[in-house]
């Protein structure tokens, strides 16, 4: 009787196991198929950059028949006398400047929203959320007129100043959400120890905000690095071009002919982004998941 029962349950669990295994196989086949489609364009770009120029367009195969570094040589050759590294440097200055600006302004502003009780705070908070839904194209023309009248076209200031003034509500919101998760008792303890708001912010909460600061920094860097419209509006001299603009000029200049160099330059322009992704994917994906952030 007992043996019969155990064999029966063993058989049942074997069936369940087999069922689980087939569902697992189906899962992996489906997911792998999606992965192939998702990864193909990226892999195609990277592999094409090592193919001879005439063998790129229309070549479905990823693996190059003959490997070449010529594309990278011509991509690194720069554009119209401006060396490639100048574009990289400009992109870096803009991205690092954006990170610094956003971290400084968003942490401070978020502290005001999350921790200081003052009249008008609720209204400002609602306005801040509202600006996230606003198409920012409504401000680009007046902003251009403003910065142009101050003689700031062809400088990085029009691109960096907004970051130091917390105009990307997104980051402020992310940090407010994070601060709300930190216990208020911390503030109280620090207040009893004689801290004012600046002390509470600087000594107690800011160190605890590290995860939010890291997530914001990575997004700020990548968004600035990939930004096209901003530099397109304000940077018109080749020595001020960041990578996306240089890339665009390069594509227009070489038109149809030099796909190899286009691919090589496209790859080089994405290297930092991919590096950040590989190193910090957890922060990025969890940041998106928990904040409902957009990537």
């Amino acid at each position: 009787m007992t043996t019969a029962m155990t064999t029966a349950s063993a058989a049942a669990s074997a069936v369940a196991k087999r069922k689980k295994r087939t569902s697992s196989v189906v899962f992996h086949v489906l997911v792998l198929a999606i992965a192939v489609v998702i990864l193909y364009p990226g892999l195609w770009m990277v592999m094409s950059s090592f193919k001879p120029n005439g063998d790129i367009v229309g070549n479905v195969n990823l693996w190059p028949e003959t490997w070449t570094l010529d594309n990278y040589a011509s991509a690194l050759g720069g554009i119209g006398g401006v060396p490639f590294w100048s574009f990289v440097l400009n992109s870096l200055i803009l991205a690092v400047g954006s990170v610094v600006g956003i971290v400084l302004s968003a942490t401070v502003s978020a502290y005001a929203f999350a921790r200081i009780n003052f009249p008008g705070r609720g209204v400002y908070f609602a306005i801040m959320i509202g600006t996230m839904l606003l198409p920012f194209h409504v401000v680009i023309i007046p902003q251009y007129i403003l910065f142009n009248s101050m003689g700031m076209v062809n400088t990085f200031l029009p691109l960096l100043a907004p970051k130091f003034l917390a105009t990307e509500a997104f980051f402020v919101f992310l940090m407010v959400q994070f601060l709300r998760g930190l216990p208020r008792e911390l503030d109280e303890a620090a207040r009893i120890d004689g801290c004012g708001h600046w002390g509470i912010f600087r000594l107690v909460l800011l160190p605890l905000m590290r995860p939010a600061v890291i997530t914001s920094s990575i997004f700020a860097f990548i968004w600035s690095w990939n930004d096209f419209l901003g530099p397109l509006l304000y940077l018109k001299q080749p020595d001020t071009y960041p990578l996306p603009i240089a890339l665009r000029i390069y594509v227009d200049q070489t038109s149809v002919s030099d796909y190899g160099a286009q691919m090589a330059m496209a790859v080089l322009a994405l290297v930092p982004v991919l590096l950040f992704f590989v190193l910090f994917q957890r922060y990025l994906v969890d940041g998106v998941a928990t904040q409902g952030l957009k990537g």
């Binding site: 302004s105 401070v108 198409p135 708001h197 665009r248 594509v251």
Partner: protein
Amino acid sequence: MSATTTERGRQAGRGSARGKTTQSSPARGGAAKPPRSRAETRAGYAFLSPWLLGFGLLTAGPMLMSLYLAFTDYNLFRAPEFVGIDNFTALFADPRFLKSAQVTAIYVFVGVPVKLAAALAVALLLNAKHRGQGAYRSMFYAPSLIGASVSVAIVWRAMFIDDGVADRVQQFFGLPGGGWVGNPDMTMPMMILLAVWQFGAPMVIFLAGLKQIPAELHEAAAVDGAGPIRRFVSVTIPMLSPVLFFNLLLETIGAFQVFSSAFIISGGTGGPADSTLFYTFYLYIKGFTEFRMGYASAMAWVLVLVVGIITAILFRTSRAWVHYTGDVR
């Protein structure tokens, strides 16, 4: 720039230090609620000053200015000349404007649902507990990070050009080829594919939402005899509706503002036959290559109104279909 920020910070510190002396004899122990005082208000404004300055100088001020410019003729070199509603009447008689509105509308109303459907489908697939789920999640998210970059636009153009990779795939399935980039009927599917390729961001948000659904709900429904489809319709969808609403709102607003991919793929023209002339692209052409800044401002305000109306409609209708339980956000 950073110097001024720290300077502000130091002033904030001083402000609150002064505040502390006035607060130092708390008659009522305000442990639960920090006291509201003039010093508190001063500290609030000091800490909020970066955002307040940014909002005033770079958002609210410019919005008012653009509203004014929308009723003027202005080209950056002469003073604005008031023209009443001429810009708006001209807009609706401008065939390129109407075309750009049409292109954008198709992109938003077809592209967003397709992208969200893909995101939801893959999220449901990944939500089943199998090994490697986290790795796939990250992998599928990657395109969202680079999708708007110039690099990807260049790759897209190279893949969808005449005799390109997409053409080869079409021919493999016995379909007529001919390239997508140069064919006005095919550029929209190409742009939508580029958007759908970036389904990862909403997928990650869907996955987070799916994880919040208590397993008991599914179990209870299963005990009551609900099959998988019934459970999806009656449990998953209502429980997921706040996340769906959030994704729908963000993706719709984002889709209205697509610019750089279309710019790169069409070589800055919006062609062929204006089939990639998205709204913000035409706004850019009017404002920054033709310098018709009054006209472009009118366009910008039409966009604000349209996005505002759609947002309002989404919020209004959400009362009927978005199901909030307990303390979901």
